[in-house]
Amino acid sequence: MSFLGRSGSSSSNGVNQERMDMAIQELDMITDVFNRLVSSCHSKCVSPRYAEGDLNKGESVCIDRCVAKFFEVNKKVGEKLQNMGAGAAGGS
C-alpha cells in the first residue's frame, strides 16, 4: 500500500512474476492436452446414437484404451523428437 512497501518488495515480485508465468503456461498446456484428449476420445469411442446417458461397457473400455494410447503416442513422439533434436544438434 505504501511506497516503501511497493519499492521494497519489487524484486521478490519479479521472481514471483516469472513463476506465475510458468504456472500459467503449464496450466494452459494441461488444459489444452485435456481438451484434445476429451474431444478425440469422445469422437472415437462414443457412438452418435444416444440411447441413454451412461457409458456402456464397450464405451468405457474404449475410453480407457484411448487415454492410455494418447499418452503412449505423446511419449513416443516426444522421444523421437528428442532424438531428432539431439541428432541435429550433434550433427550441425
Binding site: N56, G58, E59, S60
Partner: protein, 179 residues
C-alpha cells in the same frame, strides 16, 4: 467433484474442490467414500457380476415357467393310489420342486453363458453394436448343443444367434420421442 466449468478438472493432490456442505476435516472420509464408490461401480459393471445376475434372473424365470406349466401336468391316477392324501400332496409338491429346479438350472445356464460371453466380446472389441449379441448368441447356442454333434451345434448356434438378434433389435429400437 464440482469444479468450475471450462477448467480441466485436474487439481494438485489434496486440493480438489469439496462439494458444498462438506468441511475440510471430512475430506479424507470423502476420498475414502469416493474410492469405495468407484470400486463398487467397477464391480457392478464387470463381466462376472453381469453373468451372475443374468444367471440368477434366468433361474427365476425358468422356475416360474415350470411352476406355471406344472398346472397342466397330468398323470396316471393309479400311480399313487396306496398313499394317503397328505403323502400324495407332498409327493406332488416335491415333483413340482424338482421340475422347477431343473428348468431353473437350464434357463440360468443359458442366461449366465449369454451375458458373460457378450460382456467378454464387448470388452474385447471396445464397441457396443449389434455384432456382440449375435456372436454371443452363436457361441452360447454352440456350447449348449455341444453334445449333439457338430452340425447340431452349428445349427443351434445359428438359431440362438437369430433369436438373440431379434431380441436385441427390439431392445435397441427407436422409441418415439416423448415431448
Amino acid at each position: 467433484m464440482n469444479s468450475p466449468p471450462l477448467v480441466a478438472p485436474i487439481f494438485p493432490a489434496g486440493k480438489e474442490p469439496l462439494p458444498p456442505g462438506f468441511s475440510e476435516e471430512e475430506r479424507e472420509q470423502l476420498m475414502q467414500a469416493k474410492k469405495y464408490q468407484a470400486w463398487t461401480n467397477m464391480g457392478m459393471e464387470s463381466c462376472v457380476t453381469k453373468s451372475v445376475f443374468a444367471g440368477g434372473g434366468g433361474f427365476v424365470i425358468g422356475a416360474f415357467f415350470s411352476l406355471m406349466s406344472s398346472s397342466f401336468a397330468y398323470e396316471d391316477p393309479l400311480l399313487r393310489q396306496n398313499l394317503s392324501t397328505r403323502q400324495k400332496a407332498s409327493e406332488i409338491f416335491k415333483e413340482m420342486g424338482r421340475g422347477m429346479w431343473k428348468s431353473g438350472k437350464g434357463f440360468g445356464k443359458v442366461g449366465a453363458l449369454f451375458a458373460g460371453i457378450e460382456c467378454v466380446i464387448e470388452s474385447y472389441r471396445a464397441r457396443n453394436d449389434m455384432v456382440n449379441p449375435i456372436a454371443a448368441g452363436f457361441v452360447t447356442g454352440g456350447i449348449l448343443a455341444r453334445n449333439a454333434g457338430p452340425k447340431a451345434a452349428f445349427g443351434g448356434g445359428i438359431a440362438f444367434a437369430a433369436f438373440s438378434a431379434a431380441i436385441d433389435l427390439f431392445l435397441r429400437r427407436e422409441t418415439p420421442e416423448e415431448d
